[in-house]
Each structure stands twice: as C-alpha cells, then as structure tokens.
Amino acid sequence: MTEQSMPAGTDPNSVRKVVSVKAPPAIAWRVFTEQMGTWWPLAHYKIGKAQAVDAVVEPRVGGRWYERGEDGSTCDWGRVLSWEPHTRLVLSWDITADWQYDPNLGTEIELRFIPEGKDGTRVELEHRRLDRYGARRDEMRRIFDTEGDWGRILEMFARVAAPEG
C-alpha cells in the first residue's frame, strides 16, 4: 500500500487494530500479560533459532518482553514501558526489519483495555513510531497491517488449490 492509497487521516507511522473480547478486562489483561505463550503465534512470529515455547512479559515497568526457546534460550523482543493493570500496557517492540533484536529500535505498542457491555472488553492496539524503521517503514507496515495487494494473489492461489467442481 502506498501512502497515497491510504485512507485519509491514516498515520503512516502507526498501525491501529481493535478487537472486542467476550471477557472482562481483568481476564483479558491476565491472558494478554501472563498467558501470552498460550496464544501468541510462536510457530512463525518469533526470532530465535530454537523453537519458541513461551512468550513472557515481566509484570513491571522496565520488565523484559521475550520469547523462550525449547532449549531454554531467551530472545528479547522489547521492554515494558507502561504497566497499568487491567487498563493500559505499553511495550517497546525492538525487533528490526531483519527480525533481529535491537534495544535501540524503539517502536511502541500501546494496548488499552476498555470495558465493553457486560463482561466484555474492547482491546485497542496501536503499533506506532514505525518511522523508526526508516526506509523500510512501508515494508514493515505492510507486515503488521493487512497487505491488500496480496489478497488478490491469494484468491488466485485458492482457486488453483480448490478441487474442480
């Protein structure tokens, strides 16, 4: 997606997502921060050489955010920048465009847990400061967000794969 084709008002340095979860904020927060390893797509969103078996957020400002491999090795992803239980979490995402940890990268992920209806939570995510990727910002933005142009290619693949009716 080029900047020109983005909807008006879209910040090229930020990706925003919203998800409604049928779980109260306290549970949503707990699953996000304490049980990340149970749902994070570790099979392909990880950076270490070892097979990743867990993703850990240390519960305090300055805490590490890292993956743990099956061999016990750890690979940092970022740091906890803000820790407001059940309400707001800010993490740094320090993984470069080459999927290497760089403590100086400093893109940021802010999560807001907003009560919604009875026992629901609206989780708002913003991945910002993508300008930190420099010349590779748009490439990374496409990875974090939906890649529109590829959708058509996928349709093509899907048709190829579908049994002839």
Binding site: V19, V21, K22, T38, I143, L154
Partner: protein
C-alpha cells in the same frame, strides 16, 4: 524468519512447480500421472513435489504400491494468515484465548 508462507510463495514462484500443483486440483495423483503430458521427467516431478511438500502445499500417502500426492491446504492457510497481517492474526489468537479463559471462570 522463513515461514511456511514464505516457502509457499517460493515454491509457487516456479512455473513448472505451479503446473505440477495445478495437476492436483482434481484429486490425488501418482508421479507418473502428474508427469504424463508434461515436458518434464518423472524424477524432476518428484523433486518439485518434494519442494511443494516442504511448503506444506502437497501431502503424500501410500496406496498399495503407489504413492499418491494431493493438495495440502496447510500451506495455503499459512499464506492466508500471513496476508491477514501480523496484528490481525495475533489479536484474533488473543481473543480466542481470553474468551476461553472467561468461559472457564464462569463455570468455576
């Protein structure tokens, strides 16, 4: 970070391999059946099938003395996930986990 989606794109980037893959659309086939009418040798077809299998685009199974190859949708699912975007996929997985946890708490 080489993913199955990357492998699927790489595997299908080759025109001969795409042709081999397309021949499996109608159902499972043996190497001989795939090679029939194609301008490539059976060993070459086997080699292409191996790459497609590694990308999880093709599965194989033994049927009597024959080995049959068929489309494996796993590789395509990986491509779809990749297309959905990193955060779409990750948040969808989080939502499922949080709702499962909430349901478990309610029945406690």
């Amino acid at each position: 970070m080489v993913t199955y989606a990357d492998r699927a794109f790489d595997a299908l980037g080759d025109p001969t391999r795409r042709a081999v893959f397309k021949r499996l659309r109608a159902g499972a086939r043996s190497v001989g059946e795939i090679a029939k009418g194609m301008d490539v040798s059976r060993p070459a077809v086997s080699q292409h099938l191996r790459v497609l299998k590694e990308a999880r685009l093709v599965t194989d199974r033994a049927e009597g003395t024959r080995r049959l190859y068929a489309v494996d949708t796993t590789g395509l699912d990986e491509v779809r996930k990749w297309l959905d975007g990193f955060w779409d996929e990750t948040l969808a997985a989080f939502k499922t986990a949080a709702e499962r946890e909430a349901a478990r708490e309610r029945t406690r």
